[in-house]
Subunit: 231 residues, 2 copies
C-alpha cells in the first residue's frame, strides 16, 4: 500500500489534540464545496454553514478566503508530492525480468506519478470519514488558477517536476529536452482530465469509474506515448 496515508490529515506536529477541530472542519467543508461548486462559486457563508461554524472563524484561522484556499491545497499537495517521490525512489529496487534496461523503469516511473493522484482524487467519493480533495478540484486549479499554483505551491511542484523529469530523461533517451517536457505535459493533462474532468456521456463513466483499472489504462497509454518516436 501507500507509504503515506493520503486520506489522513497531516501529522500536525506529533500532538493531535482536537484543539483546532473547528479549523479542520472548515478545511474539510471548504474542500468538499470547492470541489463541487468551484472556488469562486463557494461563499464563506456556505462553508461555515456546512462546517457548523461561523464566518468570522475563517478569518480567525486563515485571515482571508485566499488563505483558506491555500491551506486546503497545501494539506493535500504535500503528502501527494511525498508519496509520488517515495514510489519513484522505490522503482529501481527490484531486479526483475526486464526486457530492456529502460523498459520496466518507464512504466514504474509513470505509475509512481499517476497512482497517488488517482487515489487522492478518488478518496473523496468513497464514503471515507472525512471529505478529501477531489480530482475535480485539482483539475479546476490546474486549468484555472495558474498564478495560484505558480506562487505559494510552486516549490513542492517544482521538486516533483524535476525529479520525475530526470528519471524520464534516463528512461526515454530518444527524446530531447523540449520534446520530453511537452510529453510530460501531455501526461499531466491526460491524468488530470481522467480523474477530474467531466464525463459527457454515461459510457465514459463506465469506462473510467474503477480506479485500479484506470491506473492500469493510464499507465499503458502514457508508456506508449512516451515511447513514440521523436517528431
Amino acid at each position: 500500500m501507500a507509504a503515506h496515508d493520503l486520506t489522513d490529515r497531516p501529522a500536525d506536529d506529533a500532538r493531535n489534540e482536537p484543539q483546532h477541530e473547528t479549523r479542520q472542519a472548515l478545511l474539510d467543508a471548504a474542500e468538499e464545496l470547492f470541489a463541487e461548486h468551484g472556488i469562486d462559486g463557494t461563499s464563506l457563508r456556505a462553508i461555515t454553514r456546512h462546517a457548523g461554524a461561523n464566518v468570522a472563524a475563517i478569518h480567525y484561522y486563515f485571515g482571508s478566503k485566499e488563505g483558506l484556499v491555500q491551506e486546503v491545497f497545501a494539506r493535500r499537495l504535500a503528502p501527494l508530492a511525498a508519496e509520488r517521490l517515495a514510489r519513484l525512489e522505490a522503482c529501481g529496487e527490484a531486479g526483475e525480468e526486464s526486457l530492456q534496461p529502460g523498459e520496466k523503469t518507464l512504466e514504474c516511473i509513470l505509475r509512481a506519478f499517476v497512482e497517488p493522484f488517482v487515489e487522492l482524487g478518488w478518496s473523496i467519493d468513497r464514503g471515507t470519514s472525512a471529505p478529501h480533495l477531489s480530482g475535480r478540484l485539482m483539475a479546476q486549479v490546474i486549468t484555472d488558477r495558474g498564478d495560484f499554483l505558480r506562487g505559494a505551491l510552486a516549490a513542492e511542484l517544482r521538486e516533483t517536476f524535476d525529479r520525475f523529469g530526470r528519471a524520464l530523461t534516463l528512461a526515454v533517451p530518444h527524446l530531447d529536452r523540449e520534446e520530453l517536457i511537452a510529453r510530460f505535459n501531455f501526461a499531466i493533462g491526460t491524468l488530470v482530465h481522467a480523474v477530474g474532468g467531466i464525463r459527457l456521456f454515461d459510457e465514459e463513466n463506465r469506462a473510467l469509474e474503477r480506479s485500479d483499472a484506470l491506473v492500469d489504462r493510464l499507465v499503458a497509454f502514457l508508456v506508449a506515448g512516451f515511447r513514440a518516436p521523436a517528431c
Copy 2:
C-alpha cells in the same frame, strides 16, 4: 487550409448587416474576459465596459448571464464540430503508401480531431481582428462546467463523439469498446490541457508555444497511446 474559417463569426444567414453589432461586441468581450478571468470571475459590468455597451444590453440580447455564456460557446462549438467532421471525412480519400490498412488512418483521424481545436485555441492570442474563444476557456468549461456542456450543447458534441468513436473503432480494432472510450477520454484530456492548461514553469511554454509543432507532437503521442496493447 481549413474548410471553415474558425476565426470568423458564424455565417449569420447570408446577410451581414451590422444590425446586431452590439450583440457581437458583447459576445467578443465576454469571450475574451471569460478566457482571462474565468466565467464566475467576469461580471456583466466588466463585459459591457469592455464592449462599450451597457448592462441592460446583455439582458436585452441574451436574457441573462447564463444565456450569454451559452451563446459564447455555441458560436464556436458549431464551426469546430463542422471542421473536425469535415477533416475526418477527408481522411480516407488519398490512397497513399500506407504501411498497414489502419496505419495512416489512425493518424489522420487524430489529426482531424486535434488540429481544429488547437487552431481555435490559438486564434485569440494572435492579434486577429476579433477576440476568439481561447483554449483556456474551453478547458475551463470542460473541467468545471459539466452540467452546462451536458445540457445545451450536448447534441453537437454527441455527433463528434460518435463519428470519431466509430472511425477509431475501425482504426484500432484491438481495443474493446470500454477501452476505446477510456483512451478517447485520455486524448481529450491531453488535448485540452495542452491547449488550455496552465504552464507551471517557463520551460513548458517553450516546449508548447508553436502551434504547428504542438499538433505534430500531440498526434504522435496520441497515435502511440491508441496503439498500445489492451490492458
